[in-house]
């Protein structure tokens, strides 16, 4: 599956330690893998397996204790917090299980928020946010606040926000965890379409096999290590 071009994500010997009262807890014990641009990857594992820690590192929300993480060829594990913030803003879109929209802001303002931190002026922000809402089919709800929207609609607003600054990578943490099966299917179909038609790289954390089945590649974590890494074709075969 991986092409000859440099991978979008390149992880070598990634380790993360957390100090605890009883000593050091090793959340990640040496993870090495590549994710190419345009891949759709599902990350699976029990809680405590290290998958959340791994996602936090991929999302530049945290720095590894040891190891190398290159995003788009750039080593990011030693960047300052301001540089990491800029990287998150430009290169990464987040979709969370609990949607994480700001409840006091309208759908439009929520979607425009990353553009605010990108330094875009107000008019441009609103236009781009409006077009993102149109892409998720919510352009008529742009002035509703999250509480006036259904769960599925809220997640679509969150996806529009993740897409707003046109990132290359979208990280989704249990994006269907709070949705019913019909809405889950719609959200996953939308993700697939994004991946297929726009070549956006998707990394998705889930513990549900049918959600993971949308991905082309599945990576399973256990005790801080990768224990399974197979493409869809391999699994079928």
């Amino acid at each position: 599956m991986t092409g000859s071009a440099a991978p979008l994500i390149e992880v070598v010997g990634l380790e993360k330690d957390y100090p605890t009262g009883a000593g050091v807890f090793q959340a990640l014990r040496g993870v090495s893998l590549d994710i190419a641009e345009g891949e759709f990857v599902a990350i699976m594992g029990a809680s405590g397996s290290g998958k959340s820690t791994f996602m936090n590192l991929l999302g530049c929300l945290d720095r590894p204790t040891r190891g190398i993480y290159r995003l788009g060829g750039q080593e990011v594990s030693r960047l300052s917090s301001d540089r990491l913030a800029a990287l998150r803003n430009r290169e990464i879109g987040f979709v969370f299980q609990g949607f994480n929209l700001l409840p006091k802001l309208s759908a439009l303002d929520n979607v425009a928020l990353p553009l605010l931190y990108a330094g875009m002026d107000r008019e441009a922000r609103r236009q781009q946010a409006q077009s993102m809402l149109a892409r998720v089919g919510l352009d008529e709800r742009s002035h509703h606040t999250p509480l006036q929207l259904s769960g599925g609609q809220q997640q679509r607003v969150a996806i529009a926000r993740a897409l707003a600054s046109r990132p290359r990578l979208i990280l989704a943490d249990e994006p269907t965890g709070n949705l019913d099966s019909e809405t889950s299917r719609q959200v996953m179909d939308f993700f697939s379409q994004l991946n297929r038609e726009e070549g956006i790289t998707l990394v998705l954390v889930t513990h549900e096999a049918d959600i993971a089945a949308y991905a082309q590649r599945r990576i399973r974590f256990q005790d801080g290590r990768v224990v399974e890494d197979q493409t869809h074709a391999e699994a079928v075969a």
Binding site: G59, L61, D82, A85, R88, L116, Y117, S165
Partner: protein, 407 residues
């Protein structure tokens, strides 16, 4: 992040919790209003004292008949008049002295036509106009010859002129004081309130001798309750005071070791004390008001800290989608600043309105100065920055992962 967006974000956050924002601001509102009002009252009081001092005349002594104490027993000054017209003449002849005016004060009813008015009557000499630096608005003051021959002439104050004559010109008219007819020869220029709050324009002056005979019926035996003396300069006042003491002790034949039968008071020194007392008072008022401003600032810090705790998740979300630490810092700092400056604006309006109300109800000459307004705005700004910085830094220092996990 663009500045206008910061203001917009702060405005969103503040209007989302209107009641809380209002209560937070209340401390600043009251603080600023108190500062403006207290400074206005202080400035007004100082202006009032300053004009009273200016109206009193400069480099003044007042010599009272009688001692302040005699053999350990206190005796009210002026209870037994011991000073004479001749004492005043002798004092005037001293070096360093410009003028000396003996005064016998009293009260009397004035009648003009069908109108009457009770006021204070001063029997004195033309020197009184000199020491008090008092000019006539129309007509003239009486002269030495009027005093010598006990002329029945009177110079009336601005208030008396208005009450007795209305729009009529008083000069040349005859009024009755204790049944005796007196000709009005002059109207004094208005002076306003004295240091002790009396209206100085509600008075009339007649020649010393005329007052003795016609108004006090000779009961005072040509004695003066007090003599007002003006020295040539402030520097010469100490010398002049010593010379007056020596002169009066020898004229009154007071032996060494005997108590004076007069008291010399330096009015200029008393006035300066009054002025500095007022200054200290207004400083004190301002300081107390400033404390309430600081308390208002602490209120803002309190609420901002609560707000940061409550909005931890929001901060996490903002950081995840690309807010740098300084963006978060600015967001909360601008919120605190907006609160304190809006509070300051409302406080200014209340303070200025309150000052106007106090001025018109209590008749105090309050003065809201540009300096006090700038001071209030400047201090509010500093308080916003100072008390907003700690909560803002706390918000900016949050770990995005933990912040996202917060409920």
């Amino acid at each position: 992040m663009i500045f206008s967006s910061l203001i917009e974000t702060a405005w969103h956050a503040l209007t989302a919790h209107r009641m809380r924002s209002f209560l937070t601001m209340l401390g600043m509102v009251i603080g600023v209003a108190a500062v403006i009002l207290m400074l206005a009252i202080g400035q007004g009081a100082q202006a009032m004292v300053r004009s009273a001092i200016e109206s009193m005349g400069s480099n003044l002594f007042i010599i009272m008949s009688g001692a302040t104490s005699s053999g350990g027993a206190r005796i009210a000054s002026g209870s037994a008049p011991t000073l004479t017209l001749e004492d005043a003449d002798a004092i005037r002849a001293l070096p360093d002295i410009v003028a000396a005016a003996p005064v016998t004060p009293g009260g009397a009813q004035l009648i003009y036509g069908g109108v009457n008015w009770s006021t204070s009557v001063y029997g004195t000499t033309p020197d009184y106009a000199v020491v008090r630096d008092w000019t006539v608005a129309s007509g003239s003051f009486f002269n030495e010859a009027d005093v010598r021959r006990g002329a029945r002439v009177v110079v009336i104050g601005d208030v008396v002129a208005r009450e007795l004559f209305g729009d009529e010109d008083p000069v040349g008219k005859i009024i009755r004081i204790k049944q005796a007819p007196f000709e009005v020869i002059g109207v004094l220029a208005a002076k306003g309130q004295s240091l002790d709050g009396r209206d100085q324009d509600d008075t009339v002056m007649v020649p010393f001798s005329s007052a003795q005979q016609k108004i006090f019926s000779g009961s005072l035996r040509n004695r003066a309750r007090f003599i007002m003396v003006q020295a040539v300069s402030e520097k010469s006042m100490d010398n002049a005071e010593a010379a007056i003491n020596d002169l009066l002790r020898s004229r009154h034949r007071i032996q060494a070791g005997q108590d004076d039968d007069f008291t010399v008071r330096n009015l200029t020194a008393i006035a300066e004390t009054a002025a500095s007392t007022t200054r200290i008072m207004s400083l004190l008022l301002g300081a107390i008001a400033a404390i309430s401003l600081v308390v208002g600032g602490i209120g803002i810090m309190n609420i901002m800290l609560v707000s940061v705790t409550e909005r931890t998740r929001e901060i996490g979300i903002r950081m995840a989608i690309g807010a740098r630490r300084r963006d978060v810092l600015w967001q909360f700092l601008i919120e605190a600043l907006t609160l304190s400056l809006i509070g300051c604006g409302i406080g200014l309006l209340l303070g200025i309105g309150g000052a106007w109300l106090v001025g018109s109800l209590a008749g105090l000459p309050v003065a809201v100065t540009v300096v006090s307004v700038l001071l209030a705005v400047g201090v509010s700004f500093l308080i916003g920055v100072f008390f907003g910085f700690y909560p803002a830094r706390r918000a900016a220092g949050l770990d995005p992962i933990e912040a996202l996990r917060a409920q």
